[in-house]
């Protein structure tokens, strides 16, 4: 089977933009108190005339894609344009443009419906703008299935590369929050700060984007060893037993608590970094980026909320560590896990 490697990552998060910023935030450790991403600046990559047509959701995606490309050292030449695919995932889509479209017709009447906002309210517009910006003419796909989103997005990318449909795939996972989502979270009793494995409801809607450049390559952060977008919990525990670490997308949702506890019941050291990026349905993608950085650095970043002296904890201790293979898992249902393994 073709070995698919992560050759570049492009995080756009409240704690910073780019792989170096993510690494710095991870080294600093601890939760952050604001998960809103600052308005993404695209001047380095996109002419202002073009970026003006993009909403924040799309700008995050385009910036993340450009950062991943840069991180991978890939040039957007003719070969790249014809042999690259884009898989875009978002659990909730472009909330800003969707609600702004409604604002327009509620404020000005139906005749004031905005074609600009309507176009931007379509989930796949972000992928299209990435393709337009980079000139990509390969396959494009946008998936939106809540906590299943990241798993099925990576499944598409791996399938395209291993079947030789494309040489590379940009996988981009984006979530934008909104006042409506914040209101919904508050009404449901989400209190924060995020306690990934706390028993209560502590989620805080996050925002951000992370892009990955996946290629059949001998170089890169790490390789995909396994991916199953739908695995039973016990099977995931069993599979992760020979991994050096398990990265979990737990993010303080009460309805997932019991399943995440079962997932973490094995002997494998267990970590969840959601306090750094917020509670996101597509959080598996962010954990995957952190896992890739950990493998590349051979370093375990401090797990937010775990003090350095907590030796009784199942959480791994921060510091240099031999990491050969790690697991990344997200709960997608009462007995369903999206599961991936990355290795050096």
């Amino acid at each position: 089977m073709t070995q698919v490697k992560i050759t570049g990552i492009g995080p756009v998060m409240a704690c910073g933009q780019g792989a170096a910023a993510l690494q710095a935030a991870l080294e600093k450790g601890g939760p952050v108190d604001n998960y809103r991403v600052a308005e993404p600046g695209l001047d380095e990559f996109v002419p202002a005339k073009q970026s003006r047509r993009m909403d924040k959701f799309t700008r995050m995606a385009v910036l993340a894609a450009c950062l991943a490309l840069k991180d991978a050292g890939v040039e957007a030449d003719a070969k790249f344009k014809s042999e690259t695919g884009v898989v875009f995932g978002s659990a909730l889509g472009p909330q800003g443009s969707s609600f702004s479209f409604l604002d327009g017709i509620m404020d000005g009447g139906d005749n004031c419906a905005s074609s600009f906002l309507f176009t931007n309210s379509v989930h796949s517009t972000a992928a299209a703008q990435v393709a337009l910006t980079l000139g990509i003419r390969g396959p494009m796909r946008t998936v939106t299935a809540f906590s299943h989103t990241a798993g099925v997005a990576f499944a598409s990318a791996l399938s395209w590369i291993t079947s030789r449909l494309t040489s590379r795939v940009l996988v981009i996972l984006t979530e934008e929050t909104s006042a409506v989502q914040q209101y919904g979270a508050a009404r449901k009793g989400a209190s924060g700060p995020i306690r990934p494995l706390g028993k209560g409801c502590s989620y805080v809607p996050g925002e951000g984007c992370v892009a990955f450049m996946l290629e059949a390559s001998s170089q890169g952060y790490c390789a995909f060893r396994h991916l199953d977008p739908c695995l039973r919990v016990e099977a995931a525990v069993e599979r992760s037993a020979d991994c050096d670490m398990l990265f979990s997308a737990a993010a303080g949702r009460a309805d997932e608590f019991a399943t995440y506890c079962r997932l973490g019941s094995g002997q494998t050291p267990y970590a969840a970094y959601s306090p750094l990026y917020g509670s996101l349905y597509a959080g598996m993608g962010f954990e995957l980026a952190i896992a890739a950085l950990s493998l590349k650095r051979q370093f375990i970043f401090p797990v937010p909320g775990v003090s350095a002296g907590a030796k009784s904890s199942k959480h791994p201790m921060s510091g240099d560590s031999l990491l050969r293979k790690v697991a990344i898992a997200a709960v997608t249902g009462p007995d369903r896990i999206a599961y991936a393994e990355l290795g050096i």
Binding site: R53, V86, G93, Q95, S98, F99, F101, L102, D103, M106, G109, D110, N111, A113, S114, S115, F118, T119, S121, V122, H123, S124, T125, A127, A128, Q129, A131, L132, L134, I136, R137, G138, P139, M140, R141, T142, V143, T144, A145, F146, H148, V152, A155, S156, L158, S159, W160, T162, S163, L165, A179, V180, G184, R187, K188, D228, C230, R232, G333, R336
Partner: protein, 399 residues
């Protein structure tokens, strides 16, 4: 990889043409088209466009498939109705599917968007609305709804690739089966008429105030529609093991971007041609019996699609468009049209292209004017979308 990685053992559709495949096909082959008033959408705009509404709620056949606990959206009701038909044709009982490695891939646009105007209005006004609208949205993601309600244990994905979503869902299900992620997949698309796309497409000035005229010289825009199309797809080995009847086979799928414009197709159909050639990977263009074209009746789409098909297959290729019977059902379109393409192969005939009367030299191809006999074991369905996405699905008649 074999010539056909996946077989189709069951099909269902629910749309303006009919409440199931048999009635839809009967209406279409008789040339009956049912555009209607958009009054239900209460759109206060100058350019009102007819719509193709799905049959009334009395036609929903989902009792055995759907939980009663949460209010279902029309998207989910349409899909479950078409699914009931597809399962019956495949000789499957929903109860037997529980716990099986069955994937669910559904294309949609409205079905994955929280655009409850009443809820949002109250929220804007600071009235602290209850979260029923949010909970309904969370419970009605089409693929998740199907998988959860049937208690399936396979991957699930809702695709929003705009107007190629339905065909791309079939393409994704094919990948899953080929990659061994599931043995069987429920694939298709669903969408419902909603004020948001109605106002949105109107703002883009690409709706017609009269019934749509695909590929016609005087075409002036699309009409929106609603409905669902569902395919039961399985690996050859799985179908053989359970003695399933193979109706048609998925023999190819291609999808490519234009990288040209956020809403308009590439004028030379660069991405569409690449998608078609990718789908035809193992056969020559001459082996195609007919094409079910996207044919939205917008000026740009039909010109690009017609001229591209003529370039690949020749000017005389047999083409029909079904949006004059269904309207443009957005995320469902590619799936409904895949069902019609399969039915055309099985029946050996395709309907007239409703709304078409006068050929447009710019479209190059001339679509069917009457019920047309077709030969050949292969047929192609094409879809184009916002953002320059183009997809093509190749179906093969099972022997």
């Amino acid at each position: 990889m074999s010539d056909s990685d996946s077989v189709i053992s069951g099909m269902g559709c629910f749309c303006a043409a009919g409440s199931d495949l048999a009635s839809s096909w009967r209406e279409m082959t008789a040339g009956h088209s049912h555009p209607g008033s958009p009054a239900r959408l209460k759109a206060a705009i100058k350019r009102l466009s007819p719509v193709f509404a799905a049959p009334a709620s009395g036609e929903y056949k989902i009792a055995a498939l759907a939980a009663a606990s949460m209010e279902k959206t029309r998207c989910v009701l349409f899909f479950m109705t078409a699914l009931a038909e597809a399962l019956a044709q495949a000789g499957l009982d929903a109860a037997d599917l529980r716990g099986q490695r069955i994937g669910v891939c559904v294309g949609t646009t409205v079905g994955c968007t929280l655009n409850d105007e009443q809820f949002y209005k109250e929220f804007r006004e600071g009235k602290q609305p209850g979260l029923l609208a949010v909970d309904r949205f969370l419970a009605n993601n089409p693929a998740q709804y199907v998988s959860t309600n049937l208690d399936l244990y396979g991957p699930l994905s809702t695709l929003n690739n705009a107007c190629t979503s339905g065909v791309d869902a079939i393409g994704q299900a094919r990948e899953w089966i080929r990659d061994g992620l599931c043995d069987m997949a429920i694939a298709g698309g669903t969408d419902e008429l909603s004020r948001i796309p109605y106002l949105g497409f109107s703002s883009l000035l690409n709706t017609s105030e009269s019934p749509c005229r695909p590929f016609d010289l005087k075409r002036d825009g699309l009409n929106l529609g609603e409905g669902a199309g569902v395919l039961i797809m399985e690996s050859r080995a799985h179908a053989r093991a359970r003695g399933a009847k193979k109706l048609v086979e998925v023999a190819g799928y291609g999808t490519c971007g234009d990288a040209y414009h956020p809403t308009a197709p590439h004028p030379q159909g660069v991405g569409l041609e690449q998608a078609i050639r990718s789908a035809l990977d193992r056969i020559s263009p001459g082996e195609i019996g007919f094409i079910n074209a996207h044919g939205t009746a917008t000026s740009a789409n039909d010109q690009v699609e017609g001229s591209t098909c003529a370039r690949v297959f020749g000017q005389q290729v047999t083409v029909f468009g079904s949006k004059g019977y269904t309207g443009h059902t957005l995320g469902a379109a590619g799936a409904i049209e895949a069902v019609f393409t399969a039915q055309g192969l099985i029946m050996g005939e395709i309907p007239a292209t409703a709304g078409f009367s006068e050929a447009d030299p710019d479209c190059v191809i001339v679509p069917t004017r009457s019920l047309t006999q077709v030969k050949g074991g292969y047929a192609l369905s094409t879809s184009l979308a916002f953002g320059g996405n183009n997809s093509a699905l190749l179906l093969k008649l099972s022997k």
